[in-house]
């Protein structure tokens, strides 16, 4: 340590030698790629204010006036209001079932390790590797047996089962990492198992809970395959199902209306992302690096 060379470059810029030219070229490439990501989301705005005739005549010109009719038509065709309500219901259901269940199981697996709980942990862990595609048919039949086909609980209950393994693993590693002293002190003061868990450990696990809530929400929000199987009647359609059925029913021929639908469909996610991108990225990374 004593022989550490004095560093002649400003700290914090400790990167390999980079010439100005390469930096400019690479920066330009990166900006172009970012534009390629954003462009499909921005281009619809060029089409959406035109009538069909105006679009066919001059698709790439500026719109002559701002017309909202395409938005209104697309909104009516998708009925996104109902879709949002259904989706929120599914998201809340999935969160309410997944997060507490995983927290409780993760706590036991972390703090009460016996042979039985270890076996059960592997039983849960194995579920993480089961692709949902594999069980679609029996799931559908099962929901028929339980009389929850074509209902929103019939969607978020299986979703929960497939979320539990991952979040149990995350909670387990989180609780394992927590210091033991606090719980010990409480135990000496006479607190029972339940008290220690609910009053002391669970509040300490707040970061994991925030992470789980956020990502379970995102998962339920974007789900398509399970919704497609489980939901049949149009009034129960979630957002993604409505968007898909708009695509199949109306197609791309009426481009201004399609553009309006694209904007309406993407807007909630994009707005959520703009507000919460820091947590979303951090959360995804924390999940991916641990899992």
């Amino acid at each position: 340590m004593r022989n550490q060379p004095t560093i002649s470059v400003p700290l914090g810029r400790a990167y390999p030698v980079r010439s100005k030219l390469t930096e400019i070229v690479v920066t330009a490439i990166l900006i172009l790629l970012a534009l390629a990501v954003i462009l499909p989301l921005v281009l619809p705005f060029l089409f959406v204010f035109k009538t069909r005739l105006e679009y066919n005549y001059n698709p790439w010109g500026w719109p002559t006036e701002i017309r909202w009719i395409n938005f209104i038509e697309a909104w009516r065709a998708i009925r996104i209001g109902e879709g949002l309500l259904n989706t929120f219901y599914v998201c809340l259901g999935a969160i309410a079932c997944t997060v507490p269940t995983a927290a409780m199981a993760g706590y036991i697996f972390a703090r009460y390790r016996t042979k039985v709980t270890e076996v059960l942990f592997y039983f849960v862990l194995a579920g993480y590797f089961v692709p949902v595609q594999m069980v679609l048919i029996p799931l559908y039949q099962l929901c028929g047996l339980l009389n929850i086909t074509d209902t929103l609980p019939g969607l978020f209950l299986p979703m929960t089962a497939f979320g539990i393994p991952f979040w149990t693993i995350i909670y387990r590693s989180f609780f394992t990492g927590l210091p033991n002293e606090l719980a010990e002190a409480a135990r000496i003061d006479g607190a029972g198992h339940a008290n220690i868990f609910f009053r002391i450990m669970l509040p300490l696990a707040k970061p994991a809970t925030v992470l789980a809530t956020l990502l379970v929400f995102m998962g339920a929000w974007s789900d398509y395959l399970l919704s497609l199987i489980m939901i049949n009647s149009a009034k129960n359609y979630t957002m993604q199902l409505r968007i898909a059925s708009f695509m199949n029913q109306y197609g791309v021929d009426h481009m201004p209306r399609y553009a309006a639908a694209t904007i309406i469909a993407a807007a909630p996610t994009v707005i959520l992302y703009i507000i919460g991108h820091r947590w979303i990225i951090q959360g995804t990374l924390a999940g991916a690096l641990k899992g």
């Binding site: 470059v9 390999p16 920066t27 281009l43 199981a105 703090r111 974007s222 021929d253 694209t262 690096l289």
Partner: protein
């Protein structure tokens, strides 16, 4: 967890209330574990057992189920649609690893090495495409590629590039796969970028500094330091990518419904069509088992990689 066991042992009054305490503990453990176990048994393990059982039967969900042994599997491997789906997911996995991962690595590396005021916020933009639900991604994909009205054909018409305007991106059996693949690249690379970047940024500072003192160029830095040090992350991301490819369904289903013909069919699409369009439960279950076995195979590879890593 031996620590725990010890602290239990020195607790005062242990002997007197041992029995009672143990009962409490047992009840507490059971109560907390029951919901998770119940969910998994009902909505995962029972359906898994059912999948294996159904895959050995001929069943439509209504009439009687007939046990047929491995007939479903044998028939699958003689079925053109299934073979095409299998070929497509394997092709998808191969090209994802060959194209998406190096491309993402290039972006992640550039973002981390050429970090300046302009490039710093770009990571957030790249990841946006990954957050969009697949239904919306498919919608945007059709917005760009749809014949005549899509962005590309429409632009080609504007500039009078007839050769480009004539291409049917989603209707040409050879091109459809690549159009969907392009949309998937657009959508998925964001995740690989932030994951790889997080791993690149974890390279200790003194290593970066010594590379700088030695006057390493970005190329040498990538070749001799970053790639060896993040090889584990690269392998993990590749496996994730492969396992994900086995399950691909949303994008091809929403953009082409597996067509034209079976050109963009995947295992997920074959399963969905046999199960929920043709009501051949047995066949669909057999496809499910194939998807499971393929995922399992690659997951085992991942674990053996991890084990080797921890041996080092």
């Amino acid at each position: 967890m031996h620590k725990n066991a010890k602290t239990f042992a020195i607790m005062p009054g242990k002997n007197r209330s041992k029995k009672k305490r143990d009962w409490n503990e047992l009840i507490f453990k059971t109560l907390l574990l029951t919901p998770a176990v119940l969910f998994l048994v009902v909505f995962m393990y029972y359906p898994i057992e059912e999948t294996f059982r159904l895959s050995m039967t001929r069943s439509t969900g209504l009439g009687p189920t007939v046990f047929v042994g491995f007939q479903n599997y044998v028939r699958l491997f003689q079925n053109e649609e299934f073979l095409m789906g299998l070929k497509n997911v394997l092709r998808w996995a191969f090209w994802s690893v060959v194209i998406q991962i190096p491309f993402s690595f290039f972006i992640a590396f550039s973002l981390s090495v050429f970090k300046n005021r302009i490039t710093k916020p770009l990571r957030v933009i790249y990841y946006l495409a990954n957050v969009l639900p697949s239904a919306i991604t498919a919608m945007l994909g059709r917005f760009v590629f749809a014949p005549r009205h899509g962005v590309i054909p429409s632009l080609a018409n504007k500039f009078n590039w007839q050769w480009l305007a004539r291409i049917d991106f989603l209707g040409d059996p050879k091109l459809a796969f690549w159009s969907i693949f392009a949309v998937a690249t657009w959508a998925y690379c964001g995740f690989y970028v932030i994951y790889l970047m997080a791993n690149i940024e974890q390279i200790p500072k003194d290593i970066r500094e010594s590379a700088q003192l030695d006057g390493a160029t970005p190329w040498q830095y990538a070749r001799y330091i970053v790639i060896p040090m993040t090889s584990y992350a690269i392998r993990i991301v590749s496996i994730l990518c492969i396992v994900g490819s086995m399950k691909i369904f949303d994008l091809p289903w929403l953009m082409t419904t597996g067509g034209p013909g079976y050109a963009t069919s995947t295992l997920g699409i074959v399963l969905y069509k046999s199960g929920f369009v043709n009501w051949q439960y047995g066949r669909a279950a057999a496809v499910g088992v194939v998807i499971f076995l393929l995922s399992l195979f690659f997951t085992i590879i991942q674990f053996s990689l991890q084990r080797k890593e921890s041996d080092l």
